[in-house]
């Protein structure tokens, strides 16, 4: 079970008033210290691992040189036998035997080093996984701590401003009125834009000589004269 379960128990146990610590800050510090120490131990282990690995590489190189020498001498011994030089072949065989004696403990040492390197590597990886998990758990605890500190500030602020249901409703009304004003202003802006574009269109029609011409003073005078004659 992780931190969530512990927090659940703490909340269920009644530690749920604002500002009441669900999270023990001392426990956080101990947890952080544990993580720091584990990280330090891993750093040291990685240092040892590097030294072991470099010993393994150097030893493997030494083994390879001896193995190459043995292979080379074997080839030469076969050649000596082919040339019926038994004495030389025996001498070479003795050298091979001596090299094999030298090689055996080195191979054992190399196998043991490889096991150590693998083992330390595995331990480091496992510890790193554990540390990563602990860090995630610690972050959950810290988040709860942060939420508590923040809500405590909010509560203090609320107490200072005497926030009530009515004040929430008044604020919402103010926001709605502001939004309405904004919507109205937008609508007014759009109306004005449409009006301007309609004026522009009328001007264009007139300039093109289309549509009804307005009556000029000469037209009015002609109309009045016609009226006068008719009397």
């Amino acid at each position: 079970m992780g931190i969530i379960s512990d927090l659940f128990k703490a909340i269920k146990g009644g530690a749920n008033e604002v500002g009441e610590a669900i999270v023990d800050t001392q426990a956080i510090r101990i947890y952080e210290q544990d993580i720091r120490e584990a990280e330090d131990a891993i750093r040291k282990a990685k240092g040892s691992l590097t030294r072991l690995k470099s010993s393994e590489i150097a030893l493997a190189r030494k083994v390879r040189v001896i193995e190459d020498d043995i292979a080379d001498y074997e080839q030469k011994a076969v050649s000596a036998l082919d040339a019926a030089n038994e004495a030389l072949a025996i001498e070479i065989a003795e050298r091979i035997s001596s090299l094999e004696e030298e090689l055996a403990p080195l191979n054992e040492e190399l196998a043991s080093l490889k096991r150590d390197v693998l083992g330390i590597n595995k331990t480091i990886k496992n510890r790193e996984k554990t540390i990563a998990k602990n860090k995630r758990e610690l972050d959950k605890v810290k988040t709860v701590d942060l939420v508590q500190k923040t809500t405590k500030s909010i509560s203090n602020n609320l107490a200072a401003t005497n926030s009530t249901t009515n004040s929430v409703k008044r604020s919402l009304d103010r926001i709605k009125a502001k939004q309405q004003r904004h919507t109205d202003e937008m609508a007014a802006g759009e109306w004005l834009e449409e009006e301007n574009s309609a004026d522009d269109l009328d001007k264009k029609i007139k300039a093109a000589g289309l549509g009804g011409q307005s009556a000029g003073s000469s037209d009015v005078l002609a109309r009045l004269k016609a009226k006068s004659k008719a009397k």
């Binding site: 749920n16 604002v18 988040t143 942060l146 939420v147 602020n157």
Partner: protein, 134 residues
């Protein structure tokens, strides 16, 4: 590493969103108290740990809710949570709040966007839940 509250405060006060909203932010102790022009009466409190930035807006206290509606409210908040973008509901003591969390390295433009959305969500949540209030 933690968030530079003064720097964030400065950036917020100079910012205007594509919606035309602006922020009014000030640092109080370890928090930024910030209001967005779309919800001036409902401040958002921004704080940070070494890992994340937390933005909390107060909604109401249990005392603001009709006594026989508390269970209904809790049920409603759990059901509403997935539908509200970038925010979730929380409760600490008797205080109900809406909050958003961001990783510490979040770009300023994304922080500003999240705060703007949270301010919107706060107003929307309060409008919706008003009928359960005393």
């Amino acid at each position: 590493m933690s968030l530079d509250l003064n720097e964030l405060c400065l950036q917020l006060n100079q910012f205007e969103s594509s919606e035309g909203n602006t922020f009014n932010a000030q640092v109080n102790d370890d928090l930024i108290e910030v209001t967005c022009s779309n919800a001036e009466d409902f401040p958002i409190y921004v704080s940070s740990s070494e890992e994340q930035i937390l933005a909390i807006s107060h909604l109401f206290t249990e005392d603001n809710i009709k006594a026989d509606e508390i269970d209904n409210l809790n049920d409603l908040l759990l059901k509403l949570s997935p539908a509200i973008p970038l925010s979730a509901f929380g409760k600490e003591g008797k205080l109900y709040f809406i909050y958003g969390a961001m990783p510490l390295g979040t770009l300023f433009s994304n922080i500003a966007h999240e705060l703007e959305v949270q301010a919107d969500n706060t107003v929307e949540a309060l409008e919706t839940l008003q009928e359960l209030m005393v």
